[in-house]
Amino acid sequence: MSYQHAADNWFSAIIIALIALAVLLNIARAKAGAQLYIRRIPGLDAIDEAIGRSTEMGRPVTMIPGLTDFGVVAVQALTIFKYITKQIAKFATPMRLLTANATVYAVAQEAIQDAYNEAGRPDLYDPDDVRFLSDRQFAFASGVAGLLQRERVAASFMFGEFFAESLIFAETGNIVGAIQIAGTISFTQVPFFVAACDYTIIGDEFYATSAYLSREPVLLGSLVGQDIAKLLFVLTIIVGLITTTLQGKDHWLVKLLGMPGGWEAFWKVISKVISGGS
């Protein structure tokens, strides 16, 4: 019940090719200037609201990308943080960005400096506002908890990948009375964010948020492609369900659709058809 090669069931190669095609075509469309639609995520309003309140209070804003390794998730989290920084730069609200990964730290410094430049306030950028605390999970968590308490932050934004430490951030933020918005692709941590934060952006909504904010054609195109892939999955399921219900789950078509080694039964049918025909 596992795949070592695509040859274990060629359906895998077919569906991967179709998804890749859907994603790449839509990226190409978006790059060519097609206006791709992405619906507005309700969490976005919550972000703006939290920014507004923290500027009123004048207390710092923290942004935490969690334990995210350097990669797509980190870059998209930084896209959102850049947006937030640009908003608060207008009112000179202080900010802290706390990272647990050396590479993310290096990239975050560039991104935040860019954000201040784009907002027209390069004077406000202080390299010390972006910090690398520790790459050890709980050491990082206790560092963040300490900082949240000492500086009594007004708003805390958590975007990226999170693990068990999520609740430490969220509860500490709650103790100091911060508005908290979290967005994570780590589903295990979503229940705690839902319980302890003011608004939670769940799973794929995270990608949609950064795509919506950045209007980056690669992200938009990819999201549209992913929707097509989901449709493809549902269609496959419907075809399979009808076959199963009518013909039983040992039917060759059912095995063909994704069961490792399921292609063999199909070859038999094909050879039967060929030999029967000739």
């Binding site: 290096a106 050491a139 009518l246």
Partner: protein, 232 residues
């Protein structure tokens, strides 16, 4: 021997137990408020953790995969790997920082290339398991020789629930069109179903966290204070 001789840190074993207890108390002190005692042990913890990882990383990984093949077996082609990996450590240099991206690019590329197998192996058997759920009591799937139609009804109902939940939650996670009319209703239902999954996770997690806390308290009671626990 008096009880206090067994209790106080007078032997190597008891010194160890007392050290553990001090560490435990120091960390729990943050529950009251942030304090210097806690901060001291926090830094001790970070230092110990970082220091510990040197052993496994150097010996189990670099010694096994690089030093031994080179200096013991003489496969000289392994020689460039570590010099190339050293590019990573330029990451803090403003001028040469970009060369670290070469190594990171290698890791990212390899993971991306590997993902095709993971996608096939992880998602497709699940897809197959989903679409082989019969939605009606037909003789193709069920043994109806004794006319036991009712017997299979719960299975079929559960299959319907499975499919409805699956499709509703998948609908909720679509973004390229506006959720309106019936789609909006399905998506809203999907969000509610999602809450069931999250609630189940929450319930399970409570158990996980309690088990860990109980483990610590058990240590304090049995190892430190010497109260026998167990057997129930």
């Amino acid at each position: 021997m008096e009880w206090w001789q067994n209790f106080l840190p007078l032997s190597y074993e008891r010194i160890g137990v007392w050290a553990s207890v001090i560490c435990t108390v120091a960390i729990y002190s943050i529950l009251y408020r942030e304090n210097p005692f806690y901060r001291l042990f926090e830094h001790l913890f970070i230092g110990l953790g970082a220091g510990y990882s040197l052993g496994p990383v150097l010996t189990d990984a670099l010694y096994r995969y690089w030093y031994a093949p080179l200096w013991q077996d003489g496969y000289w082609l392994w020689a460039p790997v570590v010099p190339f990996g050293l590019y990573l450590y330029f990451i803090y240099s403003e001028r040469y920082g970009w060369v670290s991206r070469l190594v990171i690019g290698l890791l990212i590329g390899a993971n991306a290339g590997l993902f095709f197998q993971e996608f096939a192996s992880r998602q497709l058997p699940q897809l197959n398991s989903t679409l082989s759920k019969p939605l009606w009591i037909t003789s193709a799937n069920f043994d109806l020789t004794n006319g036991q139609v009712l017997q299979w009804l719960p299975t079929v109902i559960n299959n319907w629930i499975f499919i409805i939940f699956l499709v509703a939650v998948m609908t909720y996670f679509t973004f390229s069109f506006e959720h309106r009319g019936p789609v909006k209703r399905v998506a809203t239902a999907g969000r509610w179903f999602l809450m069931i999954g999250l609630g189940a996770m929450f319930g399970n997690t409570v158990m996980a966290r309690m088990a860990l806390l109980i483990g610590r308290i058990h240590y304090l009671l049995s190892d430190w204070l010497g109260i026998p626990i167990g057997g129930g």
